[in-house]
Every structure is written in C-alpha cells, then in structure tokens.
C-alpha cells in the first residue's frame, strides 16, 4: 500500500465523521430552536455555519475523489 493510500484512508474516515457531526449538530440545533416555522433570510443567516457546512462538503468530496482515484 502506497503512502498516499495510507494517508487518504484515515483522512476520509475523518471526513465522514466530520460530515455526520455537522449533520447531527444541524439537526439538534434546529430542534432546540423551537417548533415554529422558520424562514431564513440573508439578514438572519449565519455565514460561519454555512461556510462550515460548505467546507465539510468540499473536504469530503475531495477526499472521496482522491480515494477513488488512487485505489482505482
């Protein structure tokens, strides 16, 4: 097994864990805000959370592509 294969495996595991954590956090956060309907606008949005969400998607997607590319 090459060095890159050894590195990508655990990194991809971390990406999966990060993705699941972001998902779990978003679910818990939504339910702790109460039962009412919420409509987000640009004024009420949280750019940091959106950026974190996007970063996790990019991170996971990149590692998935790398893993597939390297192992295939």
């Amino acid at each position: 097994m090459s060095t890159i294969e050894v590195l990508i495996g655990p990194a991809a595991v971390l990406a999966v864990l990060a993705g699941l954590s972001v998902y779990a956090a978003s679910t818990v956060l939504r339910e702790t805000r109460g039962p009412a309907v919420r409509v987000w606008t640009l004024a009420t949005s949280r750019p940091m959370l959106t950026a974190l969400f996007g970063a996790v998607i990019v991170y996971g997607g990149t590692l998935l592509a790398l893993r597939l590319g390297v192992l295939s």
Binding site: E31, T32, V37
Partner: protein, 703 residues
C-alpha cells in the same frame, strides 16, 4: 378491538418471537412453521416496540414503521457482522431480540397512556354488516377461483402475447370479484371501510404478483435464484465473495436473507422466492396510503391510490432482490416526512413573486403539533437508520432517495432539511469503504455511464421493443401502460393543484428520480426504475383526480370505479406477464439445476446458451459459469468452442430466442442433437423444460 389492545397483543407476540426464534436458531430445533416464525421475527422485531416507542398514533405511521425499522435493523446488523467477521445467525437473532425486549416496557407504557382514542375499523355510523359478510364470502370465492385457475393454466403455451394470451377466465373472474369488493369498501357510506379496502387490495396484490410463481412452483424472474445463491454463500462461509459480482458490494439484502434462512432452518432461501413479490408489494401499501393522506384529505383517495399503485406496478422489481426491500424502505422515509409536513402545515408565502419563489429555499416547516424536539430528533435518527440500511443494500435506491430529499429540502417542504446530507454522507462512506470491490480497478468504466441519457433511454425503451411483431406490440402496450399512469398523475396534479401541499412538492417527488437517467452507470434498466420510483406519487395524484368520483352520491359512481379498476387489473396482468414465456422458472428447471450443481465435481464449467439464474442457486464458489461468447459462428459453434463440462438448455431460453431473434422451433433440440453428434456430449437429463448434456469423460481439470 381498540388500537391499544391490538398494540399490546402485538407487543406480546413480538416478545414471544424474541424468545422463541433465537432459541430455535441456537439449538436448531425443527418445529412446524419455523420459517413462518423466522419471517414474522424479521418483520416485527425490534420494529414493533421501537415504532410504538416513537409514535403511538396515527396507526398508519406505526404500521409503516414496524417493518421498516425491523428490516433496517436486520440489514444493518448483518452487514456489520459479515464485515467484522462475526457471522452467526443465532447471534443476530439474539441481539435483535434483546433490543426488542428492552424497548417493550417503554412501548407498553406509552401505549397504555395514549392510544385510548384510536380504534381499528370504521368510526362513526356502523358499516353495513351485510356488505361485510358478502365481501368475506366474495373474497373466499375469488380465492377458490384463483386456485383453480392455477391448476388449469398452461404457461408453456404462452408465446408472444405473454400471460394474457393464456390466462384462464377463472383468474379474470377472481380478480374482478376482488376489485368489486375493494371498490365497494372504498365507496362505502358514511365513510370508507379501510379494513375491507385494505384486505381486498392485499388479496389483489397477492393474486397479481404471485400467480405465475405459484403456478410454476418457482420464481417468475430467474435472477431471484442468483440471489438465493448469494445468501447461501454468506450463510455457509460468513463472508462476502470478493471480485466475483458487483452485487456483493451492496450486501445488506443477501446478509439479511442468509440470517432469515438460518433462523428458518431451511437449506436455502428458495422457499421465500415465490411469495416474496407479494410481501414486497404489501410493504408499499402503508407508505403509499400515507402519502395519499398527506396530499389529500379522506381515506377514499388514499385507498384508491394504493389500488392504482398495484395496477400500475408492472415492472416486476418486486422479485427476491435488494431493490424489492430498498424501495418500500425509501417510500417509508418519504411518507413519514410528508406526513409530518401535512400535519404541521406549510404557511403560504407572501410578497412579490420573487420573494414567493425564494422563501421556500430558507424555510423550515413547523414541527408536528404536540411533539417535542427530542421526539423529532429520535424520529429523524430512525429515518437515518432506515436510509443507512438502504445504502448498504442497493446502489441505485439511495441516490433516488438523496435526490428526492434534497429537492424537498430546497422547496422548504420538510422539517428534516439536512437529512439528504446525512444520507449522502452515509452513501459516500459506504461507497468509499464498503463498495471498494465494485469500483476498484474500473472506475473509468463506471463513470463513462454518467451523462449517457440517450443510451439509457435507448436501452430502456427503444431496444425493449424488438423481435416478433406481436411481441413488439405487447412491449409497446406495456410502455403505453406506463404513459397512461404518467398522464393520469399529471391530470390529477393539474386538477387538484398538487393536493394539500404546494404544487412543486408533489411534482418534485416525480421529477427527482428522472435525474437518475443522467447520473448513473446502470444501463437501460434505470428507465424502469425511474417509472417505479415515480409511480407511488403518480398513483396518489391520479387518485386525487378521481376525488369527485369517489365522493359522488350518483348510483353509477361505484360501478364506474369498479369497471375502471377491472380494466386496470387486466392491464397490469397483461403488462407484468409480457415476458412470461422466457422469464419464468418452472419447478423442473430448478430441480434439474440443483441435481446438476450437486453432482458435478468442484471446478466444473456449466453453460447455458445465455443466462440461467437457477444455475447459480448453489455452490457459488465451486463451479465456473463462463459468460456468453459473442462473435462469429452459430450459437452451437461458440458453445462448442468453450468446451464446458455441462451444457444446460432450457425451453424458456429457446422461447426468448424465438421471440427476440426469430429462432426456429426445436432450436435447442437441434443444438442438443448436434452436440451429441459431435461425439463430445451425451444427454443425461431431459424434462419438459430442460435438456442437460455432459461432456463425455469430463474431468474437472479439463475445465
């Protein structure tokens, strides 16, 4: 019987199963009906206590969640066991039973507290007892007619017109009676008789989906036996076969089947395949009904939607296969989410048009009234578990689910707005780590399929309509049957403005699967899957379009509904059975296949002229099944060039060649004669449907 009593009886039954089935599995005790106990355990444990812990009412949600949670637990646990090298069917049963028993006290208390008002059966004014008594008698008579039809049908006579050309009048009369009972129950006054509508439609589903299988004593689709072989391999070795078949990369269904076989104490899963299509179809009832109730008020539309789903479902993806379980699980997730949205309601958007367009993007609908945040999280966790079970069991269904969830989220139509992301992470994780065998080494080939819309449509629609002129006509009629349901769904959508939810929501559930055609490496069969995935919502929308008829007090309304359903049942019987001449597996084919498989030495090469699922039913790792040789020369010359140890010729495959390629009558007999005349083969077995030839003085080393 009240809902509370029924729930308690169910909990006691689940507890009894939790004690009995693991004990039977550990000590391998053969008692009467052990397979039935095993199947009941797989469906009820731990789903029943888990569902009653999560939801106490409405009953349709409980009914839907029980098998979904049980099967999801079984799929996930067995995959964990097989990948961790801890395979043991008794251990699987014990762990599931432990979870079920642990949840039972909680479920019992919740049932005691809250299901007091829920009654099983009609409320309000009593339903006419005369109609019910007559309905029971009619269903009994229909059952007898159906059984006699099985005795009289000659499936060997089926040709280019398929099943409809050989259907006995008794079958048609039987299904017509059942449909009339269903129509009367749906239009019963003062309200729909849900118990009898469900019972009649259940009987109808069994009659339609199992007719060929019961008549033949074998699966209507031969591939089911390949899956039986996979399950047998897992049960025997406790491992997945590497580098042999892509389907082992999505093993949930096979590991679960292996566990059930172990609990049942049978040799393999063959006993399950004949009735499996009915089981898979019945699993869809509660989700389709729930989607119907979410989109339209009243039970009549929802039960009509279930009827239309049964009548539109000709694609036969309900045979013993992973998609047959993954599909109802996916429907369950969507139905639970739509139920929540319908219960909570979506506030109408206001302001200028661009604001009304953008508002859904940022909208999170309210929580179901009276439910806590902890309940919402628990429910979503349950749905994620069901989705994870789909992910490890089938490659296409999770993609359809993610697309549907993402679209619903974009439309602000579900409170679980990030569920699509959770499922996508699970899918990516399994793809990257669990399905390595599937993509490793040939990722390029898989990616080449992406974007091949034209090729998929060509393979899925155009190339299906080929061969004998009558057969082509029947294929076209089958496509027209699909188009009819699509048009009916569209008409219902327009007439009812999408039902109770915003129009784009119901449209999204039909449109989402269409994206599969573009982003897949699945070949032409994906077109059939797109239709299947869209069918439940099309059926609901079409039923919505019939709402006026269903509500009408005119005397002709019930006969009109019954007549439409009778036309539908004839149509679906014809459409499902177009390929019956060559897709079926008569009992003697399976018997002879087993004899051959268990009589040849390990390493032997066995060849049908093309494919034959029954030849994979056992000894997966011992025998060699080379693929069809394409190229120059006749089928006989190509077969001879491969020099297999055993040649297995079936009349079904011959019929296929006749319908699709214009092969002459007696073609296989002629090939057998030529093989014998070559001096290299001799006929060792001949039955009405099979000719088996063995190489003279064959040795395993030669293969």
């Amino acid at each position: 019987m009240t809902g509370r009593t029924l729930a308690r009886v169910g909990l006691v039954l689940a507890c009894a199963l939790s004690l009995v089935v693991p004990a039977l599995a550990w000590w391998d005790v053969n008692i009467a009906g052990r397979p039935l106990w095993a199947v009941a355990f797989a469906v009820l444990v731990p789903g029943l206590p888990a569902a009653l812990t999560l939801v106490r009412h409405p009953a349709r949600i409980v009914v839907m969640l029980v098998p979904a949670l049980s099967l999801a637990s079984l799929l996930l646990l067995t995959v964990v066991q097989v990948t961790a090298g801890m395979w043991s069917e008794p251990l699987t049963a014990s762990l599931l039973a432990l979870v079920g028993v642990a949840l039972t006290p909680v479920a019992w208390r919740r049932v005691a507290r809250a299901v007091r008002t829920v009654r099983v059966g009609p409320r309000g004014a009593p339903t006419a007892p005369t109609r019910r008594i007559l309905s029971v008698l009619a269903l009994g008579a229909a059952g007898i007619l159906w059984l006699t039809a099985i005795d009289t049908i000659d499936l060997d006579a089926a040709g280019s017109t398929g099943l409809i050309g050989v259907l006995p009048w008794r079958y048609l009369l039987a299904v017509a009676i059942v449909v009339v009972v269903a129509a009367l129950a749906i239009r019963a006054r003062p309200r729909t008789d849900g118990t009898f509508a469900g019972a009649a439609l259940g009987v109808l589903a069994v009659m339609i989906t199992t007719f060929v299988g019961v008549a033949d004593g074998g699966s209507p689709v031969g591939t089911a036996y390949v899956h039986v072989g996979f399950a047998e391999w897992i049960g025997d070795t406790g491992t997945l076969r590497v580098a042999t078949d892509a389907r082992f990369s999505w093993p949930g269904f096979f590991t679960a089947a292996a566990a059930v076989v172990g609990w049942a104490g049978t040799a393999d899963a063959t006993a399950l395949v004949v009735l499996f299509p009915a089981f898979a179809t019945l699993l869809c009832f509660a989700p389709v009904y729930t989607i119907g109730r979410a989109l339209y008020p009243g039970r009549a539309v929802a039960w009509t939607a279930v009827a239309l789903f049964v009548l539109g479902n000709w694609v036969q993806q309900d045979y013993f296969a992973p998609q047959a379980i993954a599909f109802p699980l996916m429907l369950t997730i969507l139905a639970v989410l739509l139920w929540q949205t319908a219960e909570a309601g979506i506030p109408p958007s206001s302001g200028p048009w661009w604001q009304r367009l953008l508002t859904p993007l940022g909208r999170t609908p309210p929580r179901v009234p009276g439910r806590s945040g902890r309940w919402a999280i628990a429910m979503e966790t349950g749905l994620l578990a069901v989705a994870a079970a789909i992910v490890v069991s089938h490659q296409l269904t999770p993609v359809a689910l993610i697309l549907a969830l993402a679209l619903l989220s974009l439309l602000g139509a579900v409170r679980s707005r990030t569920l699509w992301f959770g499922v996508a992470v699970c899918f990516a994780a399994w793809f990257a780590f669990g399905a390595v065998d599937w993509w490793s080494g040939h990722l390029g080939v898989l990616l080449n399929g992406v974007g091949q819309v034209g090729a998929a449509v060509e393979a899925g629609i155009v190339s299906r309509v080929s061969g004998d002129a009558t057969y082509q006509l029947m294929q076209t009629a089958r496509l027209a049957w699909s188009a009819l349901f699509a048009l009916a769904g569209l008409a219902g959508w327009v007439l009812t403005r999408g039902g109770r939810l915003p129009m784009p929501v119901s449209a999204a559930l039909v449109v989402a699967p269409m994206a599969l055609v573009a982003g897949q490496a699945y070949g032409g069969e994906v077109v059939l899957r797109v239709y299947l995935y869209a069918l439940p919502v099309l059926a609901v929308l079409a039923a919505g379009g019939l709402a006026r008829l269903l509500r009408s007090r005119r005397p002709w309304a019930t006969p009109t509904l019954a007549a439409a359903l009778i036309v539908g049942v004839v149509g679906v019987s014809a459409a499902r059975g177009v390929n019956v001449a060559f897709e079926r597996t008569p009992a003697d084919v399976l018997t002879v296949a087993r004899q051959v498989l268990w009589s040849v030495p390990a390493g032997s090469t066995i060849r049908p002229l093309a494919t034959e699922g029954a030849l994979r039913v056992a000894r997966l790792g011992d025998l060699y099944h080379p693929t069809t040789v394409e190229g120059e020369g006749s089928a006989f010359e190509r077969l001879l060039a491969q020099d297999p140890d055993v040649v297995f010729l079936t009349s079904m495959r011959e019929r296929y060649e006749q319908l699709r390629s214009g092969a002459p009558d007696g073609w296989y007999d002629n090939i057998a004669r030529l093989l014998v005349a070559s001096g290299r083969y001799e006929v060792v077995t001949r039955t009405p449907h099979v000719i088996v030839l063995e190489r003279v003085s064959a040795t395993p080393e030669d293969g």
